[in-house]
């Protein structure tokens, strides 16, 4: 099953997504800040990363840049979906330019809708 990493500082929100994704059969890990995220990203390869932009120690965009451009990264081929509540036009453009597959505003979607979107994104990779 697909392995996903949820990088999200709000523990209630990451808890909701974790339980929802687990129920849908995903293998889920979570990181609450940049430091934890970098640790997990070094540890193993994921199929998809859900990345919050507003993190306490580092801008999510920096993590995205690192994932995509660091030659040593185990995850430079991993799909990254930015999932955040900050949605200024520049942010969306920056993220897409850096290789994010999608940019979703958390408050706009229910967990079920998000799982649906993630499944759609992963579909071509599964088959």
């Amino acid at each position: 099953m697909a392995k996903i990493l949820i990088i999200e500082d709000d523990l209630m929100i990451s808890g909701i997504y974790t339980s929802k994704f687990k129920k849908e059969g995903f293998e889920v890990e979570s990181a609450k800040d940049g430091k934890e995220a970098y640790g997990k990203l070094e540890e193993k390869e994921f199929d998809l990363i859900l990345l919050d932009k507003a993190l306490p120690d580092v801008d999510g965009i920096e993590i995205l840049k690192n994932i995509k451009t660091n030659p040593k990264s185990k995850n430079n081929q991993t799909i990254v979906v930015v999932l955040t509540n900050v949605s200024e036009k520049n942010d969306v453009e920056d993220a897409k330019n850096l290789g994010a597959t999608d940019y979703l505003v958390k408050a706009y979607f229910t967990p079920t809708e998000i799982v649906g979107k993630i499944k759609d994104i992963l579909k071509p990779n599964i088959y």
Partner: protein
């Protein structure tokens, strides 16, 4: 011994005017500003006036003795002008007088000795008649005197230029540049034409000095006056008036007959009175203009401040709105999962309550999104996804979605099909959809019976959408304020429904940002109302 003959050639009149201008300006300067630097500048101007009158005598006298006296006076006043300027520079530039005590003492000593040598000896200027009365018989120390003058002139400009290069205050820099150009030019020309060249027996342009010299007090006064334009206009008027009076005065003195003398004297008095009135009115007008300029400046500053406050407010609202999304995400996530029986099936009542929490959350989220839209538009940072869209399709979608909501209240909601084919408009489909939804939801809210019809038509270069209801209506007096921030039809809330009134303000902002218009028509209370918006057609 014959008295000096002043002939009335134009050159002489102009020289006299130069001298008088200097006198007037110096006096005005001392009267208007009591600063030490102004006093020194005025002193140098008085010196200039004396120098000009000495020149007048020197150029016109046929008497060798008077010519020699005038020549001595020329060189004394010349030294005086430069010495006063040095003191002006030191006081104007607020240089430390004590630190330069020795230098200033030396300058005074040199001045006193130069003057003594000129008055009491023939070492610099000789009273022994030269071959021609218009030429000066220079003494053996004259080159030393010339050197002294040049050194002092350079010292003066060294101080000014050093300061003007160092200062970061633009007003001060500009003042200094005026002084540099305005004083440097005539002084260096004067030094060349009246000090250096004559020594080599070249007197051809000796008469030019006084004309050039008049540039200097005008520039100097212009430069030191704090409000440049303010004073220069008054000064120009004063100069012009003085010039007129002098010319007429000369005319009076040259009058041939008694009648002519009386007539011209009358004219002189008349001109003098008019000049005085003119100067006063210019002065008053400029005073008024200055006041207005100051008020306008204050207003500008206040406006900038207001804009800053408004921007800060927008920033704050934007930040807060983003923060609000976080807890709403949790509420939305958890309630939606409860609704989907994530943790097991719920009873009917439980499900109903959860659905109500969910729809409240959605309303709150929509309000926050509206607030974000408004602050973005107000800050000029709107993020529209502009594409050619068919408003009819958008409206159809909204009507389909809201049909059940209208049906629950027993209202009809229909789209009146237009016969003509509507052109496309360039708009953000999602935002326009939300505006239509907002208008229809409002109509449903404020219509107890009857229904709502939506229609579309083309009007000139616009597509106009109308949402007409058979509801409460809006009094004429209320209509103009409907799209202002947080306004609602008075009484509407107390009679029927709640709401913040943000919706129409938001809709107006969205439509306005699309270069369209939004308005309402209602015959009055209980006569229904029709909301319109127009969007420009793609050319």
């Amino acid at each position: 011994m014959t008295l000096p003959i002043i002939n009335t050639s134009i050159a002489n009149v102009l020289i006299a005017i130069s001298g008088l201008t200097s006198l007037v300006l110096s006096t005005v300067m001392i009267l208007r500003s009591r600063a030490l630097s102004s006093v020194f500048l005025a002193l140098s101007n008085y010196g200039l006036a004396l120098w000009i009158f000495s020149e007048l005598v020197f150029l016109n006298t046929k008497d060798i003795f008077y010519a020699a006296i005038a020549a001595k006076s020329l060189h004394i006043t010349g030294a005086f002008i430069l010495t006063a300027l040095i003191f002006f520079a030191y006081t104007f530039l607020k240089m430390d007088l004590r630190r330069n005590k020795i230098l200033l003492f030396l300058i005074i000593a040199l001045f006193v000795s130069a003057v003594s040598f000129i008055i009491f000896t023939d070492k610099i200027i000789s009273t022994t008649p030269p071959s021609d009365s218009h030429y000066i018989n220079y003494g053996p120390f004259y080159p030393l005197y010339a050197l002294y003058m040049i050194v002092i002139a350079f010292l003066f400009f060294y101080c000014l230029i050093k300061k003007s290069l160092k200062t970061e205050d633009i007003t001060e820099k500009r003042q200094l540049i005026y002084i540099e150009i305005g004083i440097m030019t005539p002084i260096f020309i004067g030094l060349t034409l009246n000090i250096v060249l004559p020594y080599f027996n070249y007197f051809a342009y000796y008469w030019l000095g006084p004309f050039l010299a008049v540039i200097y007090p005008v520039f100097a006064y212009y430069a030191i006056s704090k409000h440049h334009l303010f004073n220069i206009e008054v000064i120009s008027t004063e100069l012009f008036s003085a010039l007129m009076i002098i010319i007429i005065l000369i005319d009076v003195l040259l009058a041939g007959t008694k009648t002519e003398f009386i007539l011209k004297s009358g004219l002189l008095i008349g001109i003098a009175v008019i000049s005085l009135l003119l100067i006063r009115s210019v002065f008053r007008e400029i005073l008024a203009r200055e006041k207005i300029a100051k008020i306008s400046e204050d207003l500008k500053a206040a406006n900038v401040k207001l804009k800053e406050i408004n921007e800060a407010k927008s920033e704050f609202v934007s930040l807060v709105s983003h923060q609000f999304r976080t807890p709403l995400t949790s509420i939305k996530g958890l309630t939606s999962m409860l609704m989907e029986d994530f943790w097991g099936p719920l009873t009917g009542d439980q499900k109903k309550s959860i659905t109500q929490i969910y729809s409240s959350e959605e309303r709150l989220l929509a309000l926050i999104e509206n607030l974000l839209d408004i602050t973005r538009i107000e800050a000029g940072r709107e993020e529209f996804d502009l594409r050619p869209i068919n408003i009819l399709e958008v409206a159809q979608g909204v009507i389909q979605e809201l049909a059940s909501q209208a049906g629950e209240k027993g209202l009809h909601l229909r789209l009146i099909e237009s016969k003509e084919l509507l052109p496309l408009v360039k708009a953000d489909s999602l935002k326009i959809r939300q505006v239509i939804q907002n208008l229809i939801e409002n109509a449903i809210k404020y219509t107890p019976q009857g229904g709502i019809s939506v229609s579309l038509k083309r009007e000139a270069n616009y597509v106009v959408l109308a949402v007409a209801d058979t509801g409460l209506g809006i009094a004429k007096s209320q209509q103009p304020f409907l799209f202002e921030k947080f306004e609602r039809g008075k009484g509407a809330a107390s009679r029927y429904v709640g709401g913040t009134g943000l919706g129409l303000y938001w809709a107006a902002k969205i439509i306005g940002a699309h270069k369209g218009k939004i308005w309402v028509e209602s015959e009055g209370e209980n006569k229904g109302s029709t909301f319109f918006f127009s969007l420009p057609v793609i050319e």
